[in-house]
């Protein structure tokens, strides 16, 4: 119990510092804004066309009938179909989240060297905490910052999207598209934020100054980016290209009523991956297991390093 309180105390202080220092907050916010703007830009350019097309005319109703569709079904198609554009937009915009792998290690690598530069490290080492507690606290504090900012950016994205949709089309994002975006953030975005942060914090253990940690942080970021793209590559490419295994899995399992209607009309859907190789939940679980194992391995190595080098 006491150890947990000590770890949380370190995490809490780190969390406060991250906000005062600003760089972890700024980097995460910028990545969030880039991705959000990227997702929004596609649907917004289609907004006026979509609004005009959604108005029913007798000619349109007659044409729909030739496809065997009713006006009610057509209105569902319009509502969900527009939301599907958000999902399709992620194919390009989601690239931005990869910046987390590149940039977060750079900003997070300053965390531990900062304690050494301030000279607080020696003081902390004379308190009854272990190197494990210290590393865990630092990691949790930085993760809390990054995840909180990520969550705020996600909430901001939904708020802006709903505001724009309701003011222009008088309906919001469909449940299936909303769920897809939330799942994407949790199953793909969150692991990237965790990985980038963890690698950065742990790389910092080996350096005495924040400046010295920048370049290794950049190297770790580059290696993370390349490693992720290679290790977790999707088995097939979609319309614009599918980014990684988790994204592919989500896209492959995405269903909406608009897709069902398009299928009835004989249209080819814009991100139809039905004929591509299938990715199961097991492969996704393996991806997370590999990530957890790698983080645990690096954590254990840095812990041993602290013990050997600093008797901590």
């Amino acid at each position: 119990m006491q150890t947990i309180r000590q770890v949380l105390a370190i995490a809490h202080t780190e969390f406060r510092f991250d906000f005062r220092r600003g760089s972890p907050v700024a980097v995460t916010a910028i990545i969030g804004l880039l991705v959000s703007a990227g997702i929004l830009v596609g649907p917004l350019t289609e907004l006026s066309i979509w609004a005009a097309n959604s108005i029913m005319t007798p000619e349109k109703i007659e044409k729909l009938a030739s496809f065997g569709l009713t006006a009610a079904e057509w209105s569902i198609y319009f509502r969900d179909g527009f939301s599907d554009i958000f999902v399709a937009s992620t194919m390009l915009a989601w690239f931005g989240i990869f910046l987390a792998l590149l940039l977060l290690p750079i900003v997070a690598s300053a965390s531990i060297p900062a304690d050494r530069q301030f000279g607080v490290s020696e003081l902390l080492r004379t308190t009854p905490i272990t190197g494990f507690d210290y590393l865990a606290g630092k990691l949790l504090g930085m993760l809390a910052t990054v995840i909180l900012i990520g969550a705020i950016m996600l909430a901001l994205f939904f708020a802006v999207t709903e505001l724009v949709l309701f003011s222009s089309l008088h309906y919001g994002l469909s449940a299936s598209a909303s769920l897809f975006l939330i799942k994407l953030s949790l199953l793909d975005g969150l692991p990237m934020l965790i990985w980038g942060t963890a690698v950065g914090v742990l790389v910092g253990v080996f350096f005495r100054t924040r400046r010295a940690a920048i370049f290794p942080g950049m190297l770790a970021g580059g290696a993370s980016l390349v490693g992720w793209a290679y290790a977790f590559r999707a088995p097939a490419q979609g319309f614009f290209g599918v980014l990684d295994l988790a994204y592919y899995y989500l896209l492959q399992n995405y269903h909406s009523s608009a897709m069902a209607l398009e299928s009835r009309m004989g249209f080819h859907y814009m991100f139809d991956l039905a004929s591509s190789p299938s990715v199961g939940i097991g492969q996704l679980a393996m991806m997370y297991l590999a990530l957890i194992a790698m983080i645990a391995l690096i954590f254990a190595f840095t812990r041993l390093w602290l013990q050997w080098k600093e008797n901590f």
Binding site: M1, Q2, R5, Q6, A9, I10, T13, R16, F17, R20, F118, G119, V120, S121, E122, L123, L124, R125, T126, T127, P128, I129, T130, E310, N311
Partner: protein
């Protein structure tokens, strides 16, 4: 009780910071004196569990600091003020002390707040507790350092060069505070300022080049220099090279020197009662002579 036996510490392969140190330190205030680079900080850091010794045994309050369990046990009763004190500039003194209190295992909020308030009061920082530490003077930062060391009511307080950079008033205040604290815990004061020790310690060791040169009370160190401290007045010429000049003062008849050694013409010199500083300098002089004759 702290017991150090045959303690050595070598940095890399060449720098021998400690060469077979044997020490026993009891309750009260203990002074560790020596010139810069003598090995004091290395010894303090080993006692605090920050450094691993190369060889030898260290027992602090019955715990072996070279083992993981022993180290943690020592740290749970330790207050430590490092030579180069680091503080988070963006935190207030109160925030920093609360943080350290939590790390020291004070999980009860009520108890923590009470102790933080008490220590802030004790070091005279209660009025500045909500100021960010970046705005603090060197003396105030030092007081925050002392305050954090006192949290958790330590049984062992290690203070490494606590008065460096402090003005005379701050130094006296800090010395008195440490002397008061030594009534309830063991205080190890490491310093190269002999005056700090002379004013507050009843037990001391002098260390140089990683070895203990003297161990005993201030009186015993003073006694060693008795008969070797002189004052002599010259018209300007400096005393011979065999004498170590402790102080120089311009007076009406010329220059008055306080020297340690054996003057060539004792009739012109007046033997005086040595101070602790004289005793320390005499010891250092003897140590240097032994080194020269040894090499």
């Amino acid at each position: 009780m702290i017991t150090v036996s045959h303690l050595t510490k070598t940095y890399g392969k060449k720098v021998q910071a400690l060469r077979g140190v044997d020490l026993e330190i009891g309750a009260g205030m203990f002074g560790l004196v020596g010139p810069n680079g003598a090995g004091k900080t290395t010894l303090m850091r080993i006692l605090a569990g920050l450094l691993r010794p190369t060889s030898g045994k260290v027992s602090v309050l019955g715990n072996d600091v070279t083992t993981r369990q022993g180290k943690l046990a020592v740290k749970s009763v330790l207050g430590y003020l490092p030579q180069e004190l680091g503080l988070y500039p963006d935190l207030t003194a109160r925030e920093f002390l609360e943080y350290v209190a939590l790390l020291k295992g004070m999980t009860s909020r009520v108890q923590r707040n009470k102790q933080v308030n008490e220590t802030l009061e004790l070091v005279g920082l209660a009025g500045d507790a909500r100021r960010k530490m970046r705005t603090f003077s060197g003396g105030m930062k030092r007081r925050v350092g002392i305050a954090q060391a006192l949290l958790g009511k330590p049984q062992l307080l290690i203070v490494d060069e606590p008065t460096s950079g402090l003005d005379p008033e701050e130094r006296v205040r800090l010395r008195n505070l440490l002397a008061e604290l030594s009534a309830s815990c063991t205080v190890i004061l490491s310093t190269h300022i002999v005056e700090d020790v002379s004013q507050s310690c009843n037990d001391l060791a002098v260390i140089n080049l990683g070895q203990v040169l003297f161990r005993g009370g201030p009186g015993a160190l003073i006694a060693q220099a008795r008969g070797c401290v002189w004052t002599l007045v010259t018209t300007g010429e400096r005393p011979g090279a065999a004498l170590t000049v402790v102080s120089t003062m311009q007076i009406q008849d010329g220059v008055q020197y306080r020297v340690i050694g054996t003057p060539s013409d004792a009739s012109k010199a007046v033997s005086v009662e040595p101070s602790l500083e004289d005793g320390y300098i005499w010891l250092m002089q003897q140590s240097r002579l032994e080194q020269v004759s040894g090499s």
